[in-house]
């Protein structure tokens, strides 16, 4: 028994709430999603006996051959290519700057953080004011404004959403970097200064390596959050338009699983998306150098 429960069995008691939480909120839904993906599944009223036949990999074949799904993966790739590097670069640069400012420090930090804690619906209104056809940006650009306008332009819709999400999430990532910056020894900056390094050289030689672990975290979080993109294309571009150019895999999951009553298809799409995110995360880990010290 001691071998099973360890030297301090009471530890299990303290750990139990989290284990239950993890089982109910993570493990069960994950297992159930995998189960659903192999059936022609749909939600029924309690007590109703409806056949939900096993369909093997049919849902996966349907997902991987559906042009709308393939387009949505392409869309999210465009999103990630713009959003992730921009997030990393802007948040590390702004965090470094904010770490050094003396005056208005709190005001500036709050200013960057407010969009992150504000409801997307409210922020979408601001963005439409800026990037709508008659919006501020087009008024400033005049004849240089794109036609069709940003959010109804098949080429520009997804990049515009990527910029919006970058701006909205920036405050959170700046906070992560600000915390990481506290752990960079001041002596390193002093040594660099003694060796004649300027601000730019110090940034690349001391700051960037010093917050590497935070960078890996920001890369992975922004990728996972980006892959789960839903609210912004739904609200900003009216359900994934124009012509599906801003539809994301999660938006397709919502349409097929909830609106159209095919949760088996949606679950298969969710699993495919998860595997895709896993591959990207593994590549990021390998190439961003996130090994534990």
């Amino acid at each position: 028994m001691k071998r099973l429960l360890g030297a301090q069995p009471i530890g299990w008691l303290f750990g139990a709430p989290y284990l239950v939480f993890a089982a109910v909120v993570f493990a069960y839904p994950l297992g159930f999603a995998v189960y659903m993906s192999f059936f022609d599944y749909f939600f029924t009223a309690p007590g109703v006996d409806v056949e939900k036949p096993f369909v093997g990999f049919d849902n996966y074949v349907a997902v991987l051959t559906d042009p709308a799904v393939l387009q949505s993966f392409g869309n999210v790739l465009v999103f990630l290519v713009i959003n992730v590097p921009l997030t990393v670069v802007l948040s590390i640069v702004l965090a470094t700057a904010l770490n050094r400012v003396v005056h208005l420090r709190t005001f500036l930090r709050v200013s960057y953080y407010v969009p992150y804690v504000t409801a997307s619906v409210a922020l979408v209104g601001v963005w439409l004011f800026l990037f709508g056809g008659d919006g501020l940006v087009n008024n400033i650009l005049g004849p240089l404004a794109p036609d069709p306008s940003w959010l109804v332009n098949p080429t520009l819709a997804m990049p515009t959403i990527a910029l919006f999400v970058t701006w909205k999430q920036l405050g959170f990532y700046i906070l992560l970097y600000l915390a990481a910056l506290q752990n960079v020894p001041r002596e390193l900056y002093e040594s660099a200064s003694t060796d004649g390094a300027g601000a730019v050289r110090s940034f690349f030689s001391v700051t960037v390596p010093g917050v590497r672990q935070a960078t890996v975290l920001v890369l992975m979080l922004s990728t996972v959050i980006g892959a789960n993109l839903f609210t912004e294309p739904y609200l900003l571009t009216g359900g994934g338009g124009p012509n599906g150019a801003s539809a994301s895999p999660v938006l397709i999951m919502y349409q097929r699983g909830i609106q159209q009553g095919h949760p088996g298809f949606a679950a298969a799409l969710g699993i495919v998306l998860t595997i895709a995110v896993l591959i990207v995360a593994l590549l990021q880990r390998r190439f961003a150098g996130g090994r534990d010290e």
Binding site: T44, A45, G47, P148, M220, L221, G238, Q260, G261, A267
Partner: protein, 432 residues
């Protein structure tokens, strides 16, 4: 590090899976044969102010006479849409006995879920529905020929226009030239070219499945003299009538007579568009800001007399849900709520048209006192409904995807896009 990766991946998977399973838990009343049981029941009604007022008086009137079979009523719970709230409630077994807000296009899906009671199973079920709604009731039958919904009220959509903007554009506001596609396009061009309004008309250009109800389907119903977009398991719009409607709307967008971008607010109220495709609710809604308005039927290719023109119904039905224990009472309440007297109350309080055959004559006093509604009352006799197939939502999404691509964005050939959408719908019908 490996552990962190696993955690992130697990979280992503769980988030994806949770969104699907959130409504799969729970228990509740089970579907059983309770068609003769009597006792208290619960109902939901829509949350717009006029319908709440109607609902409250209906419940009061019933409860006063039936102390042992009281109705507990509430507005439909808030959610992204009524259909999603009802879908979740069916799965959880928490649906009320009656919902006075069913979207007919979602009925097939609710039926497939085992959430609805077959109203034809009541001895006078089918006869009551057919007597009240006449031949129109046919459009509300499920694929098996039974009624899983009671067609309740319609909001036949027509073209509302702002007479002041028509005058400003040099058009005759009393006899607008909007009957044929050519006339409509010429008038629309004159409105935009004159600067009277940014757009002639501005239906929502977004991609939601229900948007065809307010651009393509009304004109298709008019062009075909009352055809649904799916009949007998086949899409009907891949023909000359369907292409003509598609070409018309493509011209509207190609000439910038309508906006390709979602308008935040109401373009008609704000004077940005001179016309709108709306139901009779618009009289009260727009009447506050636009005093000088007119209404005409939707256009057809060669023009159709107003008294022969069909349109989309924008109807709502009433569904009885299988979690209901006292279905005998629920059926009586359903008949009470759709009786001649209560339909009169509905008309009076909300301005929406009960789906009954003899509307104009039964409520002739109302229409005499409210002439603005008379044209909608007449139009209510010629309405066309969405399909009620279990795959109806997917079918409408297929049509919308083709529409946003070929018609709004102008990408590719209209005929091919509609043909492809029709083929997809035929495939979906085979699944249903």
């Amino acid at each position: 590090m490996q552990r962190r990766t696993r955690t992130a991946v697990l979280a992503a998977t769980a988030a994806a899976a949770l969104s699907l399973t959130a409504c799969s838990s729970g228990g509740g009343g089970e579907a059983s044969d309770a068609t003769t049981a009597r006792g208290p029941i619960t109902i939901w009604y829509s949350n717009n102010a006029a319908e709440v007022e109607w609902g409250k008086q209906m419940v009061e009137a019933w409860n006063a006479e039936h102390p042992d079979e009281e109705i507990s009523a509430q507005e439909i719970p808030a959610g992204k849409s009524s259909e999603e709230v009802i879908t979740a409630a069916i799965t959880a077994g928490t649906t009320p006995c009656l919902v006075f807000n069913n979207l007919p296009a979602a009925t097939g899906q609710f039926q497939k879920q085992g959430g609805l009671v077959d109203l034809s199973s009541f001895s006078d079920g089918a006869s009551y529905i057919e007597e009240r709604s006449g031949a129109t009731a046919d459009q509300y039958k499920s694929a098996d020929g039974d009624y899983y919904q009671l067609p309740w009220k319609s909001n036949p959509v027509m073209i509302f226009y702002n007479k002041d903007l028509f005058s400003a554009a040099g058009l005759d506001p009393e006899n607008p030239s909007l009957s044929t596609y050519d006339e409509f396009l010429a008038s629309a061009k004159q409105i935009v070219d004159s600067g009277a309004a940014d757009y002639a008309i501005n239906p929502s250009p977004t991609s939601e499945f229900f948007q065809p109800n307010f651009d393509y389907i009304p004109l298709f119903a008019a062009q075909t003299g009352g055809q649904q977009i799916v009949e007998d398991g086949k899409a009907t719009f891949a023909d000359d009538a369907g292409y003509a409607v598609g070409d018309f709307w493509r011209s509207v967008y190609a000439d910038d007579l309508a906006g390709k971008e979602k308008y935040e607010g109401d373009a008609f109220v704000d004077g940005k568009a001179a016309m709108a495709i709306v139901g009779p609710w618009a009289i009260a809604y727009y009447g506050e800001t636009i005093k000088n308005w007119g209404v005409v039927p939707v256009p057809t290719e060669n023009g159709t007399p107003a008294d022969e023109t069909y349109t989309f119904s924008d109807a709502k039905s009433v569904g009885m849900y299988s979690s209901c224990e006292n279905q005998g009472t629920a059926w009586d309440v359903l008949k009470f709520a759709t009786s001649e007297e209560q339909d009169g109350q509905l008309l009076e309080v909300t301005g929406q048209m009960p789906l009954r055959t003899d509307l104009a004559t039964t409520y002739s006093d109302y229409f005499a006192a409210n002439p603005s509604y008379e044209v909608f009352g007449d139009q209510a006799a010629r309405t066309v409904e969405d399909p009620t197939d279990p795959e109806a939502v997917a079918m409408m999404q297929a049509l919308r995807d083709a529409y946003t691509s070929a018609i709004i964005s102008g990408d590719g050939d209209v005929k091919k896009a509609l043909d492809d959408a029709a083929a997809k719908i035929d495939g979906l019908a085979d699944q249903g």
